[in-house]
């Protein structure tokens, strides 16, 4: 019965992804501590490995407060939209041959569509909180995401041209000879930058810049709703790492080790890179962020697209 298998696979993926995202919080804090020459959380369990569990228990017992001035339905809905949209995009990522929920013909486009849906979470949270810091955070999120989404899509088109497909399995298999990080190095760099901006990670976490905006869009959130935002952010980081692995680093391809192990290793490496970025880069000013996006990244992405198309067509003739 194929449908039962599919449901089991989806349940297994959610059951693995969500705790992994929670564990990432601890992992990031330990790694940040390592980069900054301190310990980080090391008290709960061996090496502090149960820290996330302790955090979860604490957060469950917190008062789940909805401010009286907030727009109630939207306020409750906003954190759900983000986590759901990002969880849904995991459905199209092939983690090993055959290990994919939906090997869709439009897998890459589905990923882009779901990331563009995830913006609503931040924007609506900011608006529904009815708080000026939150609204400012939401506005920044909207402007930032729209700007960075444009060249995120364009930077991926180089990969699509080379592989001739939107299907992620085809894209991985087309990298058998050479990973796309080599012919598409420019696209790779642009996609990483756009990915950091899309998941609102430092240095592009302007919507929640705590030094200027209190906590930005989630200022009014507490308890389990705040945890959902947190979960969404870490799931987003995992998603972007998996997408980079799939599109540019050959997905599950690799010698000796089993395919799934290769996939996890590459993803973990990228996650460590993201955490290192957070530890080492300062946050830009908001207008600098937008200027960088429109004046540098977009023209470079277009150049990459045109260049790839020319080279590919040259080969055809």
């Amino acid at each position: 019965m194929p449908e039962l298998d599919l449901i089991l696979l989806i349940a297994a993926m959610v059951a693995i992804l969500v705790p992994t995202a929670a564990m990432l919080v601890w992992f990031e804090r330990r790694l940040l501590g390592f980069f900054q020459q301190r310990y980080g959380p090391n008290r709960v369990g061996y090496f502090g490995i149960l820290q996330s569990l302790a955090d979860l228990i604490k957060i469950l017992f917190k008062h789940d407060w909805i401010p009286p001035f907030a727009d109630r339905p939207v306020f409750v809905l906003a954190p759900l939209i983000g986590a759901m949209a990002i969880l849904m995009s995991f459905a199209v990522i092939p983690m090993a041959p055959g290990l994919v929920v939906s090997d869709s013909n439009i897998g890459l486009l589905f990923f882009l569509a779901m990331t563009s849906m995830a913006v609503y979470s931040v924007v609506l949270a900011g608006w529904a909180s009815n708080n000026k810091y939150a609204v400012l955070g939401g506005m920044r999120a909207a402007a930032q995401t729209i700007s960075y989404e444009v060249f995120m899509g364009v930077s991926l088109l180089g990969v699509v041209i080379l592989s001739g497909s939107f299907k992620l399995t085809d894209i991985v298999l087309a990298q058998e000879g050479m990973w796309y990080v080599i012919p598409q190095f420019l696209g790779f760099v642009i996609f990483i930058i756009a990915g950091v901006a899309e998941s609102h990670r430092l240095p592009f976490d302007l919507p929640e810049a705590e030094t200027e905006l209190a906590a930005g869009f989630h200022t009014e959130y507490s308890g389990i709703k705040f945890a959902l935002f947190f979960l969404g952010e870490y799931l987003g980081m995992m998603l972007i790492s998996m997408m980079i692995t799939t599109l540019f680093l050959g997905g599950w391809l690799g010698p000796w080790l089993p395919p799934f192990v290769w996939f996890v290793l590459k993803t973990m490496g990228l996650i460590c890179f993201f955490i290192l970025l957070r530890a080492s880069l300062p946050r830009p000013r908001f207008d600098q962020l937008l200027e960088f996006g429109w004046k540098w990244m977009l023209p470079l992405a277009l150049l990459n697209l045109v260049g790839t198309a020319v080279v590919q067509l040259w080969g055809d003739f």
């Binding site: 727009d71 339905p73 939207v74 869709s104 013909n105 439009i106 486009l109 589905f110 882009l112 569509a113 563009s116 849906m117 913006v119 609503y120 924007v123 609506l124 900011g126 608006w127 609204v135 939401g138 506005m139 909207a142 402007a143 995401t145 729209i146 989404e149 899509g153 939107f166 908001f286 207008d287 937008l290």
Partner: protein, 177 residues
């Protein structure tokens, strides 16, 4: 059979959500219903065999254009007086004229659909991205070019509005953000 059921479900969601868009008094709530309606339409496209159009519908309309709308409405600072004014405008008398006209259109559509061949889901043919591309750059090239002219006009207009004036007299902060 299953696909047909899914089509009718998402079609009805689109219709109901669109009704809420028109009748809702809060602009942001109305926009959210519009997003739902667009998503349901994308689902319809997908079920009718146009996955590429469905994905673009979500990315471009629901993902980019509607975010811009929400962005703009967020700045309006809607309060109770706006909602009260909206409800003044939404009296039942105003619905009579448009409803009559739409009913006539609906009757016309039903009559046209009646007189045509019946549609069956087995006739759905898949239009993939490659087919869309070769159609856009083949027979419909002129339409694409005209649309791009339209967008260019919009771009020039936007540039004109946002252009920095030579003498900064009134508002020095204008060009930022």
């Amino acid at each position: 059979m299953n696909a047909e059921l899914l089509f009718y479900v998402s079609g009805s969601i689109a219709v109901v959500a669109s009704l809420f868009v028109v009748t809702n008094k809060n602009a942001v709530h109305a926009l959210l219903y519009l997003v739902v309606s667009l998503l349901a339409l994308a689902m319809c496209f997908y079920l009718l065999g146009a996955p590429f159009a469905a994905a673009l519908q979500i990315i471009v309309y629901a993902g980019a254009i509607m975010v811009l709308f929400v962005f703009a409405v967020m700045i309006f600072n809607i309060n109770q007086s706006d909602i009260d004014r909206e409800s003044q405008w939404l009296k039942w008398q105003y619905w009579v004229g448009p409803s009559v006209l739409v009913m006539i259109l609906l009757a016309e559509v039903v009559w046209v659909l009646q007189s045509q061949q019946t549609w069956s889901p087995s006739e759905v043919q898949l239009v993939d991205a490659r087919a869309v591309g070769s159609l856009l750059f083949g027979p419909y090239l002129l339409a694409v070019e005209i649309a791009s002219f339209l967008l260019l006009a919009g771009l020039v207009g936007g540039y004109h509005l946002a252009k920095e004036l030579p003498q900064k007299a009134i508002n020095k902060q204008d060009h930022k953000l």
